[in-house]
């Protein structure tokens, strides 16, 4: 078999494209779970009692030290031994979510901490309570500050999701490799799958930059 005529070319492209959905489900699901965990942890680290703060710090340290593929293997090969067999897709979602939650926690904590002290003082000076200051000043500003990094983080998760190949999840990268093996030509399928990642990541990075510029203009970051 080779990749000589248009019909085959489009068949293979069709097969690769049909797995984009799987890649998106995998990355969006793990990304959202990671965001939920990270938000909770970052609130705890900033507002929580001391011992919980320590716990979160250790969580971040430990989880950041785990290679992604190891996290996936733990969920896929390790959990069945503990009596929780999980299908590959779920293992991948949980593995990526676990690791990414540590990175997102740092992102959110950084955003909350980077809300200027002057803004907080002004909020107190008009009589807002701690909660009111958080609700009306810190959170809305931190939310905006976090957006560019959060979008970039999604690009990273999207690309990292290709590691799910290692536990047999059929997503776009896996599909490309399979085709490569069948037609004994790695270059073309891999270039095509590269383009797929690029076409998703590039617009995201443009959007992220836009938000970043907006924040600079609004004076919420960088001075």
């Amino acid at each position: 078999m080779d990749w000589t005529n248009n019909t085959q070319f489009f068949t293979y492209i069709g097969i690769i494209f049909s797995s984009i959905g799987a890649t998106l489900i995998l990355s969006i699901a793990s990304f959202i779970i990671a965001t939920a965990i990270a938000l909770l942890l970052s609130f705890i680290e900033i507002f929580g009692p001391r011992n919980l703060v320590k716990a979160v710090e250790w969580y971040v340290k430990i989880v950041r030290g785990i290679p992604l593929i190891l996290a996936l293997f733990i969920f896929y090969y390790g959990l069945p031994r503990a009596g929780f067999p999980l299908p590959p897709l779920y293992s991948a979602i949980l593995g990526i979510a676990l690791v990414d939650s540590a990175y997102q926690e740092q992102l959110f904590r950084g955003a909350i901490e980077s809300v200027s002290e002057r803004q907080v003082e002004a909020a107190y000076s008009i009589g807002l309570t701690h909660w009111g200051t958080f609700r009306y000043i810190i959170f809305p500003q931190a939310f905006r500050i976090a957006i560019p990094g959060w979008i970039n983080e999604f690009s990273i998760v999207l690309k990292d999701s290709s590691i799910a190949y290692a536990i047999g999840v059929v997503e776009v990268f896996t599909q490309a490799v399979h085709i490569a093996q069948v037609i004994a030509d790695y270059l073309k399928p891999l270039l095509i799958v590269s383009l797929v990642y690029l076409c998703i990541c590039y617009p995201l990075s443009c959007v992220s930059n836009r938000f970043h510029r907006k924040l600079l203009e609004m004076g919420m970051i960088g001075g």
Binding site: A122, S125, I126, P140, M218, M220
Partner: protein
Amino acid sequence: MADYILVVEDLWKFYGREAVLKNVSFTVRRGETKVIIGPSGAGKSTLLRCINLLVKPDRGRIILDGDIITGRKDVHSIRSQIGFVFQHFNLFNHLTAIDNVLLGLVKVKKLPREEAMRKAEEALLSVGITEDLWRKYPVQLSGGQQQRVAIARAIAMDPKIILFDEPTSALDPELIWEVLNVMERLSRNGMTMIVVTHELGFAVKVAHEVMFMDGGTIVERGSPEQILLSPKNERIRRFMERMWYLYSLDIQSRAV
């Protein structure tokens, strides 16, 4: 005591072992404008911050309109009765001019939307911020406009007193005038104000009393003419000579 809106008694504040406020005592009458001058590091800002409890004093009492506010639990409701205008304006970056003013009215004073809107508009107009600027974000405004919005934010809350912490120090000379002008009008209309500033012209024109602070204490106080033109204290005289030189004014010709 009834005509004193603010009484500060024997106020002390330490940072580590260093006292930044030492035995500061003074009173402010209803409708009075008090100007505090002095070199940087004298404790002027710390004093203002203690009065609205942004900084917790270590010793002494502050009495606002008959209530002892030091050591009280409800600091937030006390702060809502004291306006504060910052050197760097500190407008909320993510809110438009009018939303900056509305926030305290709606979320702290819990006024109904319509009434809050009316008060906010009134406050903005009173500092010369016209309707075309209401929907602009702080970055879209000049420094002078931002500071006037910040003053409106303080006025709208109907505070018992407004504290100004070097309100014109971060402004271009051209813009200083428009802010001082607003403050002067505020003072003439009977607002009680404590103003930390280096604007001697403002002090001469508007202040009822000037206090000179240095090293965490009030070194001398008196009428603007007395402190600015013929201070008893040598340290103040030197400071004033430099200030007048800075403003290209001959100290002799300033005789009032």
